[in-house]
Homo-oligomer: 411 residues x 4
Amino acid sequence: MFLGMSDRVKPLVEQVRAMIRDEVVPLEHEYEAEIGKAGDRFAMTKRQIDILEGLKAKAKAKNMWNFWLTGSEQGYGLTTVEYAYLAEEMGRSHLAAETFNCSAPDTGNMEVIERYGTQAQKDRWLKPLLAGEIRSAYLMTEPSVASSDATNVSLSAVLDGDEWVMNGEKWWASGAGDPRCKIYITMCVTDPDADKHKRHSQIFVPAGTKGITVLRPMQVFGNDDAPHGHMHIRFENVRVPKDNLILGRGRGFEVAQGRLGPGRIHHCMRAIGQAERALELMCRRAATREAFGKKLMDLGANFDIIAECRMEIEMARLLCLKAAWMMDNVSKVEAAHWISQIKVVAPRMALKVVDESMQMHGGAGVSQDTPLAKMWTGLRTLRFADGPDAVHRRQVARTELKRYVNRGPEP
Amino acid sequence: MFLGMSDRVKPLVEQVRAMIRDEVVPLEHEYEAEIGKAGDRFAMTKRQIDILEGLKAKAKAKNMWNFWLTGSEQGYGLTTVEYAYLAEEMGRSHLAAETFNCSAPDTGNMEVIERYGTQAQKDRWLKPLLAGEIRSAYLMTEPSVASSDATNVSLSAVLDGDEWVMNGEKWWASGAGDPRCKIYITMCVTDPDADKHKRHSQIFVPAGTKGITVLRPMQVFGNDDAPHGHMHIRFENVRVPKDNLILGRGRGFEVAQGRLGPGRIHHCMRAIGQAERALELMCRRAATREAFGKKLMDLGANFDIIAECRMEIEMARLLCLKAAWMMDNVSKVEAAHWISQIKVVAPRMALKVVDESMQMHGGAGVSQDTPLAKMWTGLRTLRFADGPDAVHRRQVARTELKRYVNRGPEP
Amino acid sequence: MFLGMSDRVKPLVEQVRAMIRDEVVPLEHEYEAEIGKAGDRFAMTKRQIDILEGLKAKAKAKNMWNFWLTGSEQGYGLTTVEYAYLAEEMGRSHLAAETFNCSAPDTGNMEVIERYGTQAQKDRWLKPLLAGEIRSAYLMTEPSVASSDATNVSLSAVLDGDEWVMNGEKWWASGAGDPRCKIYITMCVTDPDADKHKRHSQIFVPAGTKGITVLRPMQVFGNDDAPHGHMHIRFENVRVPKDNLILGRGRGFEVAQGRLGPGRIHHCMRAIGQAERALELMCRRAATREAFGKKLMDLGANFDIIAECRMEIEMARLLCLKAAWMMDNVSKVEAAHWISQIKVVAPRMALKVVDESMQMHGGAGVSQDTPLAKMWTGLRTLRFADGPDAVHRRQVARTELKRYVNRGPEP
Amino acid sequence: MFLGMSDRVKPLVEQVRAMIRDEVVPLEHEYEAEIGKAGDRFAMTKRQIDILEGLKAKAKAKNMWNFWLTGSEQGYGLTTVEYAYLAEEMGRSHLAAETFNCSAPDTGNMEVIERYGTQAQKDRWLKPLLAGEIRSAYLMTEPSVASSDATNVSLSAVLDGDEWVMNGEKWWASGAGDPRCKIYITMCVTDPDADKHKRHSQIFVPAGTKGITVLRPMQVFGNDDAPHGHMHIRFENVRVPKDNLILGRGRGFEVAQGRLGPGRIHHCMRAIGQAERALELMCRRAATREAFGKKLMDLGANFDIIAECRMEIEMARLLCLKAAWMMDNVSKVEAAHWISQIKVVAPRMALKVVDESMQMHGGAGVSQDTPLAKMWTGLRTLRFADGPDAVHRRQVARTELKRYVNRGPEP
């Protein structure tokens, strides 16, 4: 179980770190300031697009692109463990993942198409996604049901001749606000009378298809996260070709499972990067700011707080690396146990570190003057996105208990 | 130590509860929707003003007004314990406190003027504040220093003939965004060479005085809290009459201490009301929503989570009532020990309850569809507003240890 | 809701505090040292008995006796709130409760007899218990079943002519090790075919009845708690008169419920007294001991730790007093909700305070040189004695949710 | 950073696990039952010695011996990472470590002699220790000073001709109760006027030297841990030869630091093994015991509790392995940072897991019927043995902050 940085990935980590520090972070504020200048917060200004596409062009030119394609013959063919070190770096800036074409939900969507798509589907959707020419969304969660139990998902798709006719509502369609978002992968019910886990399918639905209404952006603690957005979308008799079906009727859960593993762990990797940046900010603050005649670091419990953050980050990172290693080395089912663990641990840890960092900063910590508040709200959604903590804990406990059920007390 | 609801306050609680439920809450959404319609988010629309002033007029007409004037001959002459029950009710809606002219920072500012103001100052500022005709702000915190140690406050006021000439910056001036805000009570340095606790004074500065620039609204987790606002303000050679000084030169801390006690506990009372509403929302959700074939309440640890929230609310409420009783019955110095306790406990408890409630709601919990996210961000600022947790804990420990210093081990 | 110390109880608290400080605590070490000197750790030496009976005689002579008889015409007729202040004092020494004839399990057993006993039963058992002449045990828990669900209790009692014939095993019979323990109140199954809650009865069984074998003392973290003891007892064809039945066949749960409320809250009151003593010890240590050139109190997070302990004690005490007030003022069913709350809160709080105090003491904290380790192990058992935390939390949540089931979301 | 089980250590882990399961654990109860049968609890019966020496002889015969000699040319030459897997197994039974001659404090003492001893010292003390023929103790902590700051250590050693004359008191001398314990490594002050860190030396003192009085065993939560024992020892004019000095005058801290690193991490490794056994017991209990008509595992928060335990164990193990890897691959100073981290994390985690397991077991959990209570008390002492948590956290924070002091805010 080699969890260190491999010789192969070490220079990549350096390159990615340098580019984020020298080229991405310096543009953060300008990018932020552009939001809304086009009138509609979800219409991007030319400058906004230039910033993003400029960064992407630079990264692509240096072949710093699509690192997430792990275990693949395309690109670098990194292991998941190797990618973890890169993703952590990308966590430090909210523009970084897209710069390297490694951002959610595109990476997960690309995995779906690569793994389950037909050649035609790949040509149409995967190619431009891999090239960073378009973006995509994944439509899963619905407002009227507890989507933590995905069998509740109810948007219906009925075959009418050569077309699926789709009706229902989705929300938290992340990235669907972006004008460059061209395709939705949509979980829906195609076979309502089948067994519970055979009712659902996934279908490609091009953004802008007739019958689609983007009702509103969902707000996260008051923020619309424009222009990315987490959109609430209505489908009214939306028609798409029969061939837009992915993998097969009733195989929606199979597709979902294939998609969710990597997506979950990528979120965790980036969360660790955020925690590192938050701890760095906390330490810098503690080492410079003064109150009551002392540096903050020399007051009260601040040494203890900093030590606890360091220890929790280390443990979460190691667990994340182990989960990554499992993805590289054991079956998907076995790895799921580890992904569930890190999915609970990483966001919670990062929330704690960011919260402590905010507290060390006082008012500045919750304001626009530090990246901490934005980090916190994003991380908070991770505690239920891709499955709430409770569901993942249940999964972990089940695996644990399976070894003992019907075995009796200790021999 | 009578901590129950007195016979006198019981009907008032009923009235306040009913008015909030029947008249205030139903206008919340409309009020929210108005924000920004005037173009500038800090310019209120006529409808916005009508909503607020209409509610105030109704409350005033029923004599449901200025309840916060505890231990006073004016108004109801409630005890702090009695007021606690009313303030808790007001915590349930963010429009409620203003409806009854009980909102921060006005109540604290009015206390200052009533207690320390000259008759002329009272006539000019207290009267319209008591009548709800104007609003006010309290300018304390500064961006360039750790204001948790208030001796760091540095905005300077130099006497030049009959005028104070003021220079410096303040931020987190809550309420200063409101166009109805007409007066700032401003902590400043008038005697830089005096003893550390004798350097500061408080001065009335009318909003809009020449030399004042409102630089920007501070954001709280991305929200500007318009039109109330937490403003960042620059003073450049701002001139105000000599008589605008409160109480006397070098007595700024004396004034601050008188102001902060009640303000701190009022925040806590309302925090408890917010926690109650969050728990109610959590229970309603748990009792209706279904996943995995069960009501949410019947899944996993949800019974335990709900029980813990109930117990923590009860304990925090009792501690808050005891602190209120102390304010009514012991010296300010002794009561401070209790206020520090509840100032640490109440926001933390409420944050926890709201966080659990958000988690039970999934995506809806962090969105605009429930009041939870707004509650959370507001409560989060309470952990450093009016003194960060660490400072209050230090205060509590000091009182505790004083009994044992130089006493040796147990006899 | 008056939760303060009443004028009536104030002098009693002073008296009790003084007697514990001046007469009970000074004998603690000598009493401890006697244990085991008689050879059998459960055979008390003359000196041991003299210490206990001497203290009792003194207390009785001063009429400091049977304070626990709340709401009764006998004795002081204290309210439960008043008694709470006395019980807290008694928590400070492990010999104190018995000194005043206020110790578990006797108080609970006396309540049972007073409330449900026949005159003959009262004459035989209650009188000597009230007089402190004998002691008693309560036999509930069994080794072979999860007794947290009391319907599992299985020791059988079969009527054979005028006698009950009893067979089965009990453990954790606290106090049954004491040679002065003369009577067991025993929960058993008399009507196995009845409804689940009508199968059990409670029967008086004199200690030493033929067929009873005391198998062993249960150890608590390695301690046998001699001579009190928590005994594991076997019943083999134990015969007692038919009239030893309490209240009636199948009414075992009714009796149990009447018994448990007061017993639970008394434990909590004493736990708070223990926490106070632990905090005092921690502060004395922190204020005297030096390391790294400073007093311990001035190192690291120690101020914060002390402050947290103070705040948690205050909150738990207030909740305990509120639960006591409920016992005095509302129905038993309503009060149960509050007793469940404090039953979860008080032991957990006290464990935390004692644990922090141990940590401040280093090695001494877990050793025989401070009372902390003994406190900790005793308190730890309270987290499942008289119902584990999980069962009480369930109770609290149930009451909470009842208000919302079938009510839908917030109106 | 390879943290997995190497091919070399895999079969050893299997062998150790099998021997513990098949030969050590089955003798645990008999061994326990022997304690005290010789009258004096610290005098071992023949059977007791036979059990221990029998196990040792078997292990030695199979060459399962002195695994702890990491990075050494003697024995297996395992890495610390490899040894971690073995030590974890040994954590599962309290007789296991001694069986393989891997128990504290002998391993630490042997390291000291191997690293710093003269050939004569090695011949006299190291040889029989490596052979398992004698045992040893390490005398550091003193009752009258805060020994968490080791510069406080005050037992004096004055050179008088060719002899050191030693006076003072030590306590918590673990293992000094064992009649087979023949040598004490003793930290003392030889140069009281030197610089603070140059005052102390370490000296070999044979057990039983004239002037030594073993005052009493310290109790840990009431247990004397006989026959191992944690002894309180007085030195009155104890004379030992000048050559018993280790390494050199004033080099006591140098010796201590060399000793403590491995000792601390070995404790942590075993703590993880204990946690694993506690979790296993909890799961077995949860999967078999019934209450309220359900298996315990299907009640309340038990799934969540089990999942949290699994996740915390995994993280602590990974951190422990990383600290071990650091010991193998970086300087002692750098590794210290990691050892401090795991020293805080592992005991805390294990205490939590054992506590939850106890709660799942109810009364049985704190009693002699499970190994949990004994585990808990042992683990609790680890939170201050070899440095209290606070000191280790301080160490971790210092390393963290060093990177930022005088660096200012984020560039």
